[in-house]
C-alpha cells in the first residue's frame, strides 16, 4: 500500500535532519536519498508537470514564429541570471541589486572579444563566466562586511555605475558604447534548424546545464552551508561553516551566472548596449522580480518567473492602443497583483497546492504517523533582517 510505504519511509527523513535545523528541506536537499519520499499524488503531479514542461520547451520553437522564439530566448537568459540571483539571495540571503552590472560585463566581454579579437561566439561565454566570476569575487569581499540593506545599496550603485563606465571606455558604433556583432556569427550550426531555433536551443541547453549545476550545488554540503549562513550566520559559524568562504564563493558563482546571461543576450539581441543609463539597473530589478514572482529559494522558480515576466512585458506593451505610455503602469500594477495573490511565487503556490493534495490523499487512507513536512512556509523569506 502506497500510504504505508510513505508513512514508514518518512521517519528516517525526519530522523536525519530535523526540520528546525534545516529550513526549506526540499529545496536545500536535506537527505541522502535522491528522491525524498512523497505521497503518490504529489509524485505523479511532479512527473506530469516535468514531462509537460520539457515537451513544451522542446516543441515551442517549431510552433512559434521567429519573433516569439526571440522572446522565449530572452526569457531563457533572464532565467539564467535570476537563477544566479536566487543562489545568492534565495539560498544565501545576500541581497544584490547589482547583478545587472555583472550581466553587462558579460555582454560586453562577449561583444568585444568577437568584434575586436575575432573570437567565435561560443568560447566567449566561458570567458564571460570566468571574468564575471572574478568580478563577483571582488564585490563579494566587501560584502562580507556590508550587509542587508547596505549591500543592496552598494550593489545598486554598481548597476548605476556600469553604463557610465561603458560610456567612458567602450568605443563602438559612432563613438557610442553600442556594439553590434554581425548576425552571421550566430547562424545555425545544425542543418534543419533555422537561426532563431538554433539560438533558442543553444540558450536552452546552457540553461539546463546551469540548472543542474545549481541543483546539485544546493542539494550538497555547499548548499546546506549556504542556507545555514542565510538563516543564522552566527549559529552556522559555531558549527564549523566557513562564513567568509561560503559567502564569497556564492557571490562569485552567482555573478558568473549573470555573466553567462549577458553573453547569451548578445546572441539573442545581437547587441551590447551601454547607451541607456538606467538599462542595467532595470535588468537588476528584472532579475529580482523574476526570482520573486517565480518563487525565491525554489529551483524552478527563476525560470517560471522569467517566462511570466517576459510574457507580461510583451503583452502589456501593446495592450492599449495609443496609450503606450501606460505600459509600465500596467506592468507595475501586475507585479503588485502577483505579490498579493501569490506571495510565495508561482512555484510556492503550486507546492502549497500539491502539499494540500498530498494531505488529502493520505487522509483518505490511514492518517500518517508523521505529518508530511510542509516546506512551503519557509520559502520567500530569505532575508528577514534587511
Amino acid at each position: 500500500m502506497a500510504t504505508e510505504q510513505t508513512g514508514a519511509a518518512t521517519e528516517p527523513v525526519l530522523g536525519v535532519a530535523p526540520p528546525d535545523v534545516m529550513v526549506a528541506p526540499a529545496a536545500a536537499g536535506t537527505t541522502p536519498p535522491l528522491w525524498p519520499p512523497v505521497p503518490r499524488v504529489v509524485f505523479v503531479a511532479r512527473v506530469i508537470i516535468g514531462v509537460a514542461l520539457s515537451a513544451a520547451a522542446l516543441y515551442a520553437p517549431f510552433y512559434f514564429q521567429p519573433t516569439m522564439n526571440r522572446v522565449l530566448s530572452q526569457a531563457i537568459y533572464l532565467a539564467i541570471a535570476a537563477m544566479g540571483l536566487n543562489l545568492l539571495l534565495g539560498f544565501n540571503g545576500q541581497v544584490s541589486i547589482g547583478h545587472g552590472a555583472f550581466y553587462g560585463v558579460g555582454a560586453f566581454t562577449s561583444a568585444i572579444l568577437m568584434i575586436d579579437y575575432g573570437w567565435s561566439f561560443e568560447p566567449t561565454i566561458i570567458a564571460s563566466a570566468l571574468l564575471t566570476g572574478v568580478f563577483g569575487l571582488l564585490v563579494g569581499l566587501p560584502a562580507l562586511r556590508v550587509r542587508g540593506l547596505y549591500l543592496a545599496l552598494v550593489t545598486l550603485g554598481l548597476a548605476v555605475l556600469f553604463p557610465r563606465v561603458a560610456q567612458k571606455f567602450v568605443d563602438g558604433t559612432g563613438g557610442r558604447p553600442l556594439l553590434r556583432p554581425s548576425r552571421k556569427e550566430f547562424s545555425s550550426l545544425i542543418e534543419g534548424l533555422a537561426d532563431d531555433q538554433w539560438v533558442y536551443f543553444l540558450s536552452l541547453a546552457i540553461m539546463v546545464a546551469l540548472f543542474f549545476l545549481a541543483w546539485n550545488l544546493t542539494r550538497g554540503r555547499v548548499g546546506r552551508a549556504m542556507v545555514a549562513v542565510r538563516d543564522q550566520e552566527l549559529a552556522a559559524s559555531t558549527v564549523g561553516v566557513n562564513l567568509a568562504g561560503t559567502k564569497v564563493t556564492t557571490f562569485a558563482i552567482s555573478a558568473a551566472y549573470a555573466g553567462v546571461a549577458g553573453s547569451l543576450s548578445v546572441m539573442v539581441d545581437a547587441l551590447a548596449d551601454g547607451t541607456n543609463p538606467v538599462l542595467y539597473f532595470q535588468r537588476s530589478i528584472e532579475f529580482l522580480v523574476a526570482m520573486t514572482i517565480g518563487g525565491a529559494a525554489t529551483m524552478l522558480g527563476p525560470a517560471v518567473g522569467a517566462l511570466a515576466l517576459v510574457l507580461l512585458r510583451r503583452n502589456t506593451q501593446d495592450l492599449i492602443e495609443g496609450k503606450e505610455i501606460l505600459a509600465p503602469a500596467i506592468y507595475g500594477a501586475s507585479l503588485i497583483a502577483f505579490v498579493f495573490v501569490l506571495p510565495e511565487g508561482v512555484v510556492g503556490g503550486v507546492r502549497r497546492l500539491l502539499a494540500w493534495l498530498g494531505r488529502r490523499s493520505s487522509a483518505k487512507g490511514r492518517p500518517p504517523t508523521h505529518p508530511i513536512p510542509d516546506d512551503s512556509h519557509d520559502i520567500g523569506g530569505p532575508n528577514e533582517r534587511t
Partner: protein, 294 residues
Amino acid sequence: MQLFLEQVLNGIGNGVVYGSVALALVLIFRTTGVLNFAQGEMALFSTYISWKLTETGLPVVGAIVISMLIAFVAGGVLQFTLIRPMEGRSQLNVVIVTLGLFLAINSLAQLFFGTDPQLMPSAFPSGGVDLFGGARIQKDTIGLIVVLLVECLALWVLLNKTRLGLKLRAVAADPVSARLHGIRAGWMLMFGWALAAMIGALAGSLVAAERTGFDATLMQIILVYALAAAALGGFDSIWGAVICGLIVGIADALTIQYVDALDGIEVVVPLGLILVVLIVSPNGLFGKRTVERV
C-alpha cells in the same frame, strides 16, 4: 580659491536636495522598516501637482502647501491599501511592491502631465548673494537650506518631544509590544508614510524650481544619491541623513571639478564613500549599533 568655494557651494546646493529626499527615506525606514524605492516617484507626482496648481494662477507657496496636503493623504492611502496587507510577509514582497509603485507612478505622471519638460516657478526671490572670496550663492540655495533646517528641527521635535512621536518610535521599535500598550500601530505606520510623502512633495517642488525645466526623470538620479546619503547616515538618524546628503553633494561637485580621471563616472564617489564608511563602521556614520541574538 574662488573656484573651490564655488564648487563647494554648488555641492551644498545639490547636497541639500539629496538630504531632503534622504530625510523622507529615513523617516519611512525609521517608522515602518521599509526602504521605499517609490519615494522619488511619489515626490515627482506631487511636484507635477504643484506645477499644475501654479498654472491655474495659484501663488507658488499656496500651490506647494496644497500639494503637500494631497501627498499626505495619498501617502497614507498607499500605505493602507498596498503596504499594510504585506505585514508579516517577506521583506522581498514589500520591495517588489515599492518597485511596482515606482514604475506605475512614473508612467501615470507621464500620462496625466505629458512628457514635455515643464517649468516650475520658484518660491524664493531670484538672484544671488555675494560671499567672501568672490563666490556667489543663489538665493534659491539659501532658501532650500533654510527649509531643510526647519524641516529637520520640526521632525526632531515631533519624534523626540511629543506623545505622537513617542508612539511612532514605539511602533517602529516593536509593533507587538506597542499594540499591547494600546497604541494603534496601523495608524502610526500609515502616519509615517503620509509624513514622508509630504516631505517628498516639498523637496520635489523646490528642486524642480531650481532646474531649468523638469520631466519624469527628475527624481531618478536624485534617488540614487539620496539612497547613498541615507546609507552613509546609517538609515536611522534624521540629522545623519541631512549631513551625509551635504557630504555626498560636496564630494560629487569637487570630483567633477578636480578629478579628470573620474570624468563621467562621478557616481563612483558616493559608492566609494558608502563602501569605505561601511567597512570601517558597519552601521553608517550616525547609525545605532545593534546586538544580535542567536
